[in-house]
Amino acid sequence: MRHLSKYRRHRFAGPMLLLFALFMIGTTYSVANATPKLSTNSFAKTTAIDEGRQIFLRGCSSCHGLNAEGGSIAPSLIGVGAASVDFQVGTGRMPMADMSQQAMRKKPLYTPEEVAALAVYVASLAPGPAIPTEAVVEYARDGNTAEGGELFRSNCAMCHNFAGQGGALSRGKYAPSLMDSTPVQIYEAMITGPQSMPVFSDKVVTPEEKLSIIKWIVSAQNEPNLGGASMGRTGPVSEGLLIWTLGIGLLIGISVWLATKAR
């Protein structure tokens, strides 16, 4: 597939790549290094770490350990980074409601401020992926929908289905639907690899490509029904169900009317 290499030579590719590389380095550096420092301006940050630690001790430490070192039922959080916390807690997956196969997306337990504090606390433990807020805001400008679709089908569709509706994994696990995911959450998931999902490293799927993927997903979220009711966008199974119920049902109904004597 020669065409896939073409956006290497896209006229924005060089500058954009540089910009994002700088930005990513900058953010990572600031999150990783700024937190342990106790400069005069870092009073707010320190309090945020403390606040985050308090929330952590109340809500997370029973599984993840008092120092986030992990336990028999939960992984260590040292080095997972702020992005991971923001994704897991911000989408309501953590804290888990029960010990099921998989943490489900649900209503977040904590307010955005509390999530932010938790993220700062976990990020202060060791360097890890930072929350990519500002990078993602620009997906509309820097992403390419069609290329994003190509990347999505190569890297994501096998689990999340061709239209991002999600799909089954082994032993009761599943890849969730992406229809409610925000651009930031999608970005966080790609760089942190939550739960069953693998990590998509920046050298393998570049930040620019990630933005294209996000742009495609956003377009899929808003995809209008070009041919009528979408029926879940899961392929031929729902089509088969419809023809065996509504289709043949309507026609049998009419046949019964046709074969009944009029009065």
């Binding site: 020669r2 190569s154 070009l226 023809i243 289709g247 046709l258």
Partner: protein, 528 residues
């Protein structure tokens, strides 16, 4: 004489002098067709075929059956600039750049699904009512042929757009061809013009899909209908209906209006579904490349049972003398379907061998009056249903919070356990329905009115059945089991005694019935 009548008369005279059609037409305009909703199922299949021809011709005007690589620059934004085959690009063009093109594509695909649904429903009607019995065995076999061709034609049709989902289907079809012992890889290379996917397959299946198979379809459907016409339609049992007559409405005008109108109804319903419900949204699937795949890749429903069989297959492969035999593909992909379709085609002959019944039948059986046949039907349907559900096991898993592994294991066991269970339950059910019929004829309908007898006992008043109803319930005949002597008169074992014994035993099972009431039974009851 009015002017218009004069014109028609002139034309009719002109045609008849050259064809002698009047005699044939006179006879056939009076041809009688029995009316029943279940007799419309075959018509639905016929009319969806006509719809498929009409919409299919429309689609060929724009479809480019080529795997040549092109850059898409049509109006569907999320794919613009993507490299794809001309087949996929032209399908996108039909969908978005030809007005009404998407509607025609959707009618075509929905009609294809409906065609297969109607064929299967029609097959069930014919099977459960015993309409396949002499003299209609040929038509049964033609029907099985049409069903098989329909599956192939449907598969080829949805493979044409060369999208990610259908390409995956072709990939699997290639693996099945490749798994055939000895000649598999040669056949695959011939079919694909080299290694998979190549650039030859879609142009080739296009010709097969639009020319070869529709031609065979037309020939088989014509033969199927001519036989129905010539042998006259079967009818349900009822007063005045015998093996020697057919009761219904004449071709002209009633049947013409109903059947002709029903074509428009089938077209209208298909168009309605195509207007409101999306089907095969290939623009969402993306173009095919072998390195990509979507979660939940399933075939259309009439292939789903095959896919389910493959999903539940055990991981068996044999390695003998430097050769590989893939039982995990051969068993579910070729052997089991082969056995199923052969058994289905031979069923009329098997049944008549076991009942010893070689007479013509034009009155249909009520399913309960052929308990073993009905049970065999229920067993087969259960088998297909289990495999069909396994074909969607990943969607079942996500929608009902199950695990793929549980469903697969349940189906691996269920496919052996549930069909025999369905057989036993259905047979018992039929026999008890026969018992209920017998009671109904002998004792009449329960009215729910209680009457106190002079000596104080309460009894429910039973209303006797009308003569028509009683006749409908009891007009069928009950064939006794074959009596096959194992020894000849001198007490010497006959040759093939073992086979005869087996046949007699099976015959006894097939003909198991609740004795139906006779006129004598009724008379006897009247004396009370």
């Amino acid at each position: 004489m009015k002017k218009s009548e004069k014109v028609v008369g002139t034309v009719a005279n002109y045609v008849d002098e050259r064809t002698g059609a009047a005699k044939w037409l006179k006879k056939n305009l009076n041809k009688v067709f029995p009316d029943h909703w279940s007799f419309m199922l075959g018509e639905i299949a016929l009319y969806s075929f006509v719809i498929l021809l009409l919409t299919g011709v429309f689609l060929t005007f724009w479809f480019d059956p080529s795997q040549r690589e092109v850059l898409y620059n049509g109006s569907y934004e999320p794919l613009s600039g993507i490299k794809m085959s001309a087949a996929y690009a032209s399908t996108l063009d039909i969908s978005f750049d030809v007005r009404g093109g998407l509607l025609m594509r959707q009618i075509h695909h929905w009609a294809a699904l409906l065609f297969m649904v109607a064929i299967v429903a029609h097959l069930m009607r014919v099977f459960f009512t015993g309409a396949f019995r002499k003299p209609r065995e040929f038509n049964w076999i033609l029907g099985i042929g049409l069903l098989t061709l329909g599956i192939v034609e449907g598969f080829l049709g949805y493979s044409l757009p060369d999208d990610l989902l259908s390409g995956t289907g072709i990939r699997i079809a290639e693996a099945i061809i490749q798994s055939i012992p000895v000649v598999g890889s040669y056949l695959a290379f011939f079919a694909f013009g080299g290694p998979f996917p190549g650039e030859a397959f879609i142009p080739r299946i296009f010709t097969v899909h639009v020319l070869l198979l529709p031609g065979i379809f037309l020939a088989l459907i014509t033969a199927h209908l001519m036989l129905v016409w010539y042998q006259k339609h079967t009818q349900y049992p009822g007063p005045g209906r015998t093996e020697k007559n057919v009761v219904g409405y004449p071709l002209m005008p009633v049947y013409m209006a109903k059947a002709g109108g029903f074509f428009f109804i089938v077209f209208g319903v298909t168009a309605f579904i195509a207007a409101v419900a999306s089907i095969n949204p290939i623009w969402l699937y993306g173009p095919y490349t072998p390195a990509q795949i979507s979660a939940g890749s399933q075939p259309d429903w009439y292939m789903g049972w095959l896919d389910g069989l493959v999903r539940m297959a055990p991981p068996w492969e044999s390695y003998i003398f430097g050769h590989t035999i893939s039982w995990n593909i051969l068993i579910p992909g070729l052997i089991v379907p082969g056995i199923l379709f052969t058994a289905m085609a031979l069923y009329p002959f098997i049944e008549s061998w076991l009942t010893g019944d070689k007479r013509e039948h034009h009155i249909l059986d009520r399913p309960r009056n052929a308990p073993t046949r009905t049970a065999i039907g229920a067993m087969s349907l259960t088998f297909i249903l289990v495999t069909l559900m396994t074909g969607g096991n990943d969607l079942l898993a996500t929608h009902f919070s199950l695990t793929i592994n549980q469903i697969t294991w349940a189906s691996r066991i269920g496919v052996f356990v549930l069909p025999p269970l369905a057989f036993v339950i259905t047979k018992r059910l039929c026999l008890s329905l026969q018992r209920a019929d017998r009671d109904l004829i002998l004792h009449g309908r329960e009215t729910g009115r209680l009457v106190r007898l002079p000596h104080g006992e309460f009894v429910e008043v039973h209303e006797p059945l009308s003569a028509e109803k009683a006749y409908t319930l009891a007009s069928h005949e009950q064939i006794p089991a074959l009596d096959l002597p194992l020894e000849d008169g001198a007490g010497v074992r006959r040759p093939k005694a073992l086979r005869a014994k087996l046949r007699a035993r099976m015959s006894a099972a097939v003909t198991e019935q609740i004795p139906k009431p006779t006129s004598e039974d009724l008379k006897e009851i009247e004396h009370h």
